[in-house]
Each structure stands twice: as C-alpha cells, then as structure tokens.
C-alpha cells in the first residue's frame, strides 16, 4: 500500500549546510570574504585586479577564481599580487559550496585577511548556490542594458552590494539609470551601490574604502 511521507525539506539544504561550514572556517581564521558575481565581461576580474592593487599594502589577499576552463583569471589576480587559486568547474555554470570548500584547502588561511571569490560569469545559477561568504556582490555593467534587474530578479534580490561598472560608457549607450535603479530598489530596497569605471577608475575609491572598512570591522569582531 502506498503511503505519503511528509518531507518539507529545502532542496538546496545540502549545499547550504556546507556553506555554513565554509563560513565557520573563514570566521575561525578571521577572514572576510566576498563572492563576486556578474555576466561574462561585466568586469569581475578587472575590479579584482584594481582591488588587489589598491589594498595589497594594507591587507593580505587571496582570490579563488571559478571558470568553466582556463586559469586566465587566476593568473591575472596572481600578477596583481594576490594568492590565487583557480577552480575549473568542468562545465558547471556556477560555484557551489563544495567547490569552495575544496578550494579553501589550497589556501594558507592563517596568512589571509580578505578572500575574494570570483564566481562563474552568469546571472542565473550563482544566485541559487550560497557559498558561505560574508557578502554577495553583483557587478552590473552599463553596456548590458538597464533592464537586467527585471530579467534577473533572483540575482538582484540576493546580493548585499551592487557595483555599476563602466559608467564611462554612459554617454555612448542607451541606459536609463532611473529605470535601472527603480528595478533594483523594488527587488532589494536600500541596496548599497558603487557606480564606477574600472577603465577610468572614477568612483573606485568608495568601493575600495568599503571593502577595507568591511574587512577591518570583521577582524575586530
């Protein structure tokens, strides 16, 4: 005879459990961590390079790079002066907590203050997989268009900070900043935003100060 067994368990709970373990490990070592997400070409690696260059004299940085293939991004982070680990996901479109867990084993954690995780370029899947990092950061860039919050609500809803990159291109592409910001505000009221350009470095200072301040206040706690 068939009987019904009530379950009511979140399907992502296995990933979420490992994510909590990752967070505990980072907290034990007083490491502050950011998960950077964006479309391919949104400027994740460029922003990471600039962040390393501006903070390398004050913080010890590590970068964990997720990509489907190649170590191009990790190589760029290493040249900029950070400890870098590449994760090749072998086709998976996102990082998950297990992948971060094994990458963390490759880093001397007691020698690190700030860990930046560069997720796979994708606006859909990374939003569903918590990694255990302290803050989720989305980089949106002007040429992608002002409709992205409307098309990828899951991503915009789940982040703790938003970088609006490539603002130097605003005069050249149609982008209605009010429409964009309205979409963001509905999904994520009061979200902290950093309009900047990695090319001209306009606006970069407030991003750098925020990262530094977040890392330092995490260490004090």
């Amino acid at each position: 005879m068939t009987k019904r067994v009530p379950v009511v368990e979140k399907i992502m709970s296995a990933n979420d459990r490992i994510a909590s373990q990752n967070r505990a490990k980072l907290d034990n070592e007083s490491i502050y961590s950011l998960n950077l997400m964006a479309s391919p070409g949104g400027g994740k690696t460029s922003l990471i390079e600039l962040t390393i260059k501006n903070l390398a004299d004050r913080l010890r940085l590590a970068v964990i790079d997720g990509d489907v293939a190649t170590s191009i991004d990790a190589d760029r982070a290493a040249s900029a002066g950070a400890v870098a680990v590449q994760i090749n996901t072998g086709g998976e479109c996102h990082l998950d907590a297990v992948m971060l867990q094994s990458a963390l084993r490759q880093v001397e954690l007691d020698e690190i203050d700030l860990l930046i995780v560069e997720n796979v370029g994708n606006l859909i899947c990374p939003a569903s997989f918590k990694l255990g990092t302290h803050k989720n950061v989305l980089i949106s860039s002007i040429p992608e268009g002002d409709d992205k919050p409307y098309k990828y609500p899951g991503m915009y809803r789940g982040v703790d900070a938003l970088v609006i990159n490539k603002i130097d291109l605003l005069p050249y592409v149609p982008f209605d900043m009010d429409y964009f910001r309205r979409g963001v505000e509905v999904l994520n009221p009061g979200l902290i935003t950093f309009p900047l350009s990695c090319s001209t470095q306009e606006g970069l200072d407030s991003w750098i100060s925020w990262v530094l301040q977040q890392t330092q206040s995490n260490r004090i706690i």
């Binding site: 005879m1 068939t2 009987k3 019904r4 067994v5 009530p6 379950v7 009511v8 368990e9 979140k10 399907i11 992502m12 709970s13 296995a14 990933n15 998976e92 479109c93 996102h94 998950d96 859909i124 899947c125 939003a127 569903s128 997989f129 409709d147 409307y150 609500p153 899951g154 809803r157 309205r182 979409g183 505000e185 509905v186 999904l187 009221p189």
Partner: protein
C-alpha cells in the same frame, strides 16, 4: 544549467526519508517550485531518469507543483501577480513591495510502499 546537482539533492533527500520510513520503493516525489526559483522541471526529469537508476526511487514519478509569483504592496496592501517587466504596485505605484509567493523550492512529500 544547474539542474544536475539539484536533482542529486532531490534523490538524496528522498532516499533518506524513504529509509527512515522503512519503505521498499518510492512511487512519487512531490516538489514545490516557485516561479522565481529559476528551475527547469523538464531538465530535472531528464537527469532524474538517469541518476535514480538502481535505487529504490527508480521509475518514481516527479510531480511539480508550480507556485506563481505574487507580490504585496507595503503601502496600500494591494496583492498582485507579475505583469510584464514592471514590479511596482499597479494600484498606487509604490516601490515598497514584499514577495509573498514564488520563491519556494522544496521537497514536500514522497509516496512510498
């Protein structure tokens, strides 16, 4: 696409609960998916047929209960569904809204023998 690891999670949860209930066979699995959860059920079914092989869940039917996204305006209390691109309240134009349904993604129950 991230449906493979998700399907593996579904199998793991279902097998664990079936074992706890001393079941010998899982007949169906009832899953609740919200419109905003960005999960493709056809794709889960595809992986399911492969990974459930040789388990007590082999051949189990996956039932997907889809929940439409629904919003509630925090200013005027209007409840509404997605209409085109705009998420603002259709009644008063407010930007302050709550998502009251559509984010669900959980395994509700299994039917076992």
């Amino acid at each position: 696409m991230h449906e493979l690891p998700i399907t593996q999670n579904i199998l793991e949860i279902a097998l664990r609960h079936a074992k706890a209930a001393n079941a010998s066979r899982i007949m169906s699995i009832n899953i609740v998916i919200g419109e905003l959860a960005s999960i493709v059920d056809d794709s889960i079914q595809f992986y399911w047929d492969i990974i459930s092989n040789d388990t007590i869940a082999e051949g189990a039917k996956l039932n997907f209960n889809r929940i439409n996204a629904e919003f509630e305006c925090k200013v005027c209390g209007e409840r509404y569904k997605l209409q085109g691109n705009e998420l603002v309240c259709p009644d008063c134009g407010s930007l302050k809204i709550d998502i009251v349904a559509g984010k669900e993604f959980f395994l509700e129950s299994i039917d076992v023998e």
